[in-house]
């Protein structure tokens, strides 16, 4: 099988990488580029720990080939952070609410929840639960995660009424 060179645009930075056709986006982000915020959990698309945004939409890094991401914008959790690794307001809510314990699921939770709030504004608790059904957490029992997302959505709506949070 032949290696191919592609340019992956991750968090607004271009990376030239050599990949095998069978390399997943997860393989390349984690193993080649050393991005610890994209994680191998199940390899079947059900646990959510490898979630990244592809052109702004959450996808499974383990079910996307690296070759398919060439020429598109990939965003990992790090890409949401401000200068000097300042935390995104949703991360602040996770911290404040105790929504992160071991932290393994957190990047996927944050990216998926942010996509929901961007789309729905102020989702109901039931909508949050439904959107996060594919993100498994073995520590928190989910309640605090729902609290954190709810708080962030309320905060984002109050800060910029009628606007879509970034």
């Amino acid at each position: 099988m032949t290696l191919r060179q592609i340019v992956l645009s991750v968090n607004d930075r271009d990376h030239e990488v050599w990949v095998l056709p069978s390399d997943t986006l997860l393989d390349v982000l984690h193993d080649e580029l050393g991005m610890a915020d994209v994680r191998y959990g199940c390899g079947e698309g059900v646990c959510g720990t490898c979630t990244v945004l592809l052109d702004g939409e959450p996808v499974n890094g383990c079910l996307t080939l690296a070759l398919q991401a060439a020429g598109r914008q990939v965003t990992t959790l790090r890409g949401l952070m401000g200068p000097g690794e300042a935390m995104h307001p949703l991360q602040e809510c996770f911290l404040r609410r105790g929504a992160s314990q071991c932290g393994f699921c957190t990047p996927g939770m944050v990216l998926t929840a942010l996509d929901l709030v961007r789309r729905r504004g102020q989702p109901s608790r039931e909508e949050i639960r439904y959107a996060l059904v594919g993100n498994l957490c073995r520590c928190t029992g989910y309640t605090k995660i729902l609290d954190a997302v709810e708080e962030y959505a309320g905060q984002a709506a109050a800060d910029a009424p009628g606007e879509v949070p970034s």
């Binding site: 095998l20 069978s22 079947e44 698309g45 996307t64 080939l65 059904v133």
Partner: protein, 297 residues
């Protein structure tokens, strides 16, 4: 786990994909949304030597013409959920897709890929059967249309020839006096259905009794299955309201359940599945009838 090595080629059109598929033979596989195929590769349940990526082959959007809702095969599940034409003309499908996978799976998974995968527990497959959908197929000898009722052969096996690709899914648009319902039992939200039921009920011209009924079931056999129309014939000319309506719906559901021999697996026994068929079908029939009566009112 990690997939066995394979080669990859992105097809710019369906014609190119068909040529590549014909050249690749047994060892080539079409990659659409990848939400079923990629897990199978990662688990090494499949090991093709070549993946032909069709994601760049077509950019069309859902459309309606000649009484048909045309869904290009690459229509993502999220679009099925949200698209105005789908919600208006096939609300059954829009509702059922809520039960498919999770947000990430729905962002990538496609309607054509789902039908081609032919999973016997497929929500989308059962809706396609219940609505009398067809698939448009392209192969080396040109295009043809296949009724979904003839598409599914067995577990993950369709009637498509080796080098054929689904390009469109064609669903008759919903008619007035027609009602629908979808119910399923799952162990966890987003999981594979143990049993799923999609029902369509159409009332007569005076909108006072049933003219026609179709019920499709998932999780009951080696493929999604249309309930024998004979077993539903007794509902014609009846209503499904009140206690006599409940009895008629339950009797029809019991006949359907009795006609099936679902096999047992680690998740459910055959008897339990049959029981689910009866309960969910009766529920779906009553709800589809209420929908139809509401739509006609």
């Amino acid at each position: 786990m990690v997939a066995s090595a394979f080669e990859y080629v992105a097809a710019g059109s369906y014609d190119e994909a068909v040529r590549l598929l014909a050249d690749g033979g047994d060892e080539a596989k079409i990659l659409a949304g990848g939400q079923s195929l990629m897990p199978m590769l990662n688990l090494r349940l499949a090991h093709p030597e070549l993946l032909i990526d069709i994601n760049m082959a077509d950019e069309r959007q859902p459309s309606v013409a000649d009484g048909m809702l045309r869904l290009p095969a690459l229509t993502r599940h999220r679009v099925l959920l949200e698209h105005d034409l789908v919600r208006r003309h096939c609300p059954l499908l829009a509702e059922a897709v809520r039960h498919v996978g999770n947000v990430r799976v729905r962002n990538r998974g496609t309607v054509g890929g789902s039908l081609a995968h032919a999973d016997p527990t497929s929500e989308i497959g059962s809706c396609a059967l219940a609505t009398g959908a067809h698939v448009a197929v392209r192969g080396p000898d040109g295009d043809r249309t296949v009724p979904v009722s003839e598409l599914f052969v067995s577990y993950w096996t369709t009637a498509l020839a080796e080098s054929e690709i689904i390009t469109d899914v064609l669903i008759p648009v919903g008619r007035p006096r027609q009602g629908w319902s979808f119910h399923e039992m799952v162990r966890r939200t987003s999981d594979f259905a143990i049993v799923a039921v999609a029902a369509m009920v159409e009332l007569n011209e005076r909108a006072d009794t049933i003219a026609a009924t179709r019920v499709a079931l998932a999780g009951v056999a080696d493929r999604v299955t249309l309930a024998d129309p004979e077993l539903l014939a007794g509902l014609a000319g009846r209503t499904l309201t009140g206690s006599t309506g409940d009895e008629a719906a339950d009797a029809a559901a019991a006949r359907i359940a009795g006609s099936l021999e679902p096999s047992a697996d680690v998740h459910a026994s055959g008897d339990y599945r049959r029981r689910l068929v009866r309960v969910l079908t009766a529920r779906a029939l009553r709800e589809a009838y209420a929908h139809a009566a509401g739509a006609a009112a």
